[in-house]
């Protein structure tokens, strides 16, 4: 278990519904500061619903969310983002009709980020030299992998304390996924706490310090990633899924 003191984000007894359909059941989680934590789960396990609830897109029917000790339950999404949480949602969701530079500028929209915009541009361009080459190109002309990198870079422009990535590897070639995970590791080394959401068990365990396994809206297993036996994680992941 992660202690309250080392947690940057704490979820307590969350229940979330989409209309009549409950998607999250009594979920409590802690995310340690400065670490990479993964949330593993199959299609429809409720991972995106959980992340969207953290970001204030959905309002939980009960339970609380605290970021750095501050209750953010039910706050407006843009307000939550301004506290220092960046999320790259499922699918890169770059602004298609804006250039790469304009997309990055959108990452630096908040006043705090705007002030250190030059510095952030340098950081992002040295991490993703491809973006510098394509800086004046419209995002709609980027490949899937390039878009995902732009989405991550745009999030980094926010200079967040916590970065949440929802299935960054979705639909990408293995060599590109490897590249993206290396970048995420680099970002973590600069002190950013990270939450990675994935369907791939092995990759998740490999790249995180701590893992939660989710099935049918509940946390069914958790522990230090290197201590979790991969077979048992697979069972938890598929076992419940078999009855879904």
């Amino acid at each position: 278990m992660i202690s309250e003191k080392e947690a940057i984000l704490t979820l307590d007894g969350l229940n979330v519904s989409h209309g009549d359909l409950q998607a999250i059941f009594d979920v409590s989680m802690r995310f340690p500061r400065g670490k990479i934590v993964s949330i593993i789960g199959a299609n429809g396990a409720g991972k995106s619903t959980l992340l969207n609830t953290i970001m204030g897109v959905h309002r939980p029917t009960s339970g609380t969310i605290a970021f750095e000790g501050r209750d953010i339950t039910g706050a407006r999404t843009s307000g939550i983002a301004s506290l220092g949480i960046a999320m790259t949602p499922e699918g890169s969701r770059v602004f298609e009709d804006m250039t790469v530079t304009e997309n990055l500028l959108m990452g630096a929209y908040l006043p705090a980020a705007k002030r250190k915009r030059g510095e952030q541009f340098e950081k992002v361009f040295s991490m993703f030299p491809m973006l510098k080459e394509k800086s004046s190109q419209l995002a709609t002309f980027l490949s899937g992998g390039q878009r995902q990198m732009l989405a991550i870079a745009r999030a980094i422009m926010m200079d967040p304390k916590l970065l949440i990535c929802d299935e960054v590897s979705l639909g990408l070639a293995p060599v590109i996924i490897k590249d993206i995970y290396r970048k995420i590791g680099e970002i973590n080394e600069t002190g950013v706490s990270i939450i990675l959401v994935e369907q791939e068990v092995r990759r998740s365990l490999q790249h995180s310090a701590y893992s939660y396994v989710m099935a049918k809206g509940r946390i069914v297993m958790e522990g230090a990633s290197d201590a979790l036996p991969i077979d048992e994680v697979n069972d938890a992941y598929f076992g419940i899924n078999r009855f879904a």
């Binding site: 970001m55 897109v57 407006r76 999404t77 843009s78 307000g79 983002a81 301004s82 960046a86 999320m87 949602p89 969701r93 602004f95 298609e96 009709d97 804006m98 304009e102 500028l105 959108m106 990452g107 929209y109 908040l110 980020a113 705007k114 745009r154 926010m158």
Partner: protein, 290 residues
């Protein structure tokens, strides 16, 4: 020949006035996907305000316009913040109904306060010609309308395309959730868009009030013209709105020079119908209508 040339010149200049009437409607449509039925009434409201300020507060038309803009900014903030923003996420119809109600309230309110009489914003420009040669005359007022319209549309395009404010508004419009995740308060962006819109409507209202007489109910007539510009030019395209206005103005005046001025309105809308049939998304729109 001279009559035709005269119609073309006047039609283009009139088109400029139409475009500045339409550009606010185009903005609201492009950004909020909302057809603002109150657009014409909001513009006529500013015509009345400018007239009132010139008669009772300050004679200088530019100062009266600035006062009008100040009042209209407060008005625009209120309708966006307290009305439209509360219903915009509940689908298209509720917001449409809100603007419909607003249209009725504004025109009836103007009727109550100012009565049914024809009004105008006083100006000498309407009686003078800028050019008067070779049988062609260019009214100073029409020339002013056109120049101001082009300037306003260029300024708006620059604001939307080059500034941080414009980027924020565009982002909020193209992906609301993603913008919020980046810390952009999208409802506030909609308020800013409405403030830009009422500013253009105030300028349009003054020009219309100087060029033509108006009544509390004239808004509807200009709503249709605004709608025409926006549909011809392409929903949400600012430069398209200018093109749409010019086409509409040309069609009306050139048509009238052949068939008589009784047919002026009819011809304008026939052209609108033809363009809708041939290119339903409008001339300069990249979007495809559903």
């Amino acid at each position: 020949m001279d009559i035709l040339l005269q119609s073309i010149v006047t039609g283009v200049l009139l088109g400029g006035l139409y475009a500045i009437i339409g550009v606010g409607m185009s903005m609201i449509f492009g950004i909020m996907r909302l057809t603002n039925i109150a657009h014409g009434d909001i513009m006529i409201l500013s015509s009345f305000l400018t007239m009132f300020f010139m008669q009772h507060v300050i004679g200088n038309p530019v100062a009266a316009l600035l006062l009008t803009i100040a009042v209209m900014l407060v008005f625009g903030f209120c309708i966006q913040h307290f009305l439209i923003n509360n219903v915009i996420s509940k689908g298209d119809e509720p917001a449409l109904l809100v603007t419909f109600g607003l249209s009725i309230i504004v025109s009836n309110g103007l009727f109550l306060i100012f009565g049914p009489a024809a009004r105008g914003v006083p100006t000498e420009l309407i009686r003078t010609n800028l050019i008067n040669a070779n049988g062609i005359s260019v009214s100073s007022m029409y020339a002013l309308n056109f120049v101001v319209a082009v300037a306003v549309i260029i300024a708006l395009s620059l604001i939307m395309g080059r500034t941080s404010l414009g980027r924020g508004i565009r982002a909020a419009s193209s992906d609301t959730l993603m913008s919020e995740l980046l810390g952009v308060n999208t409802k506030r962006m909609y308020v800013y868009a409405m403030l830009l819109t009422v500013t253009t409507a105030s300028i349009a209202g003054m020009l219309v009030g100087m060029t033509f007489t108006f009544y509390p109910t004239t808004g509807t007539q200009y709503l249709i013209i605004a709608f025409g510009c926006v549909v011809i030019g392409g929903m949400g395209s600012l430069v398209g709105t200018l093109l749409g206005g010019v086409i509409l103005g040309l069609a009306q005046l050139v048509g009238a020079s052949f068939l008589g001025s009784a047919y002026q309105q009819l011809i304008g809308f026939l052209v609108l119908l033809v363009i809708l049939a041939v290119r339903p998304q409008g001339l300069l729109s990249k979007a495809v209508r559903k």
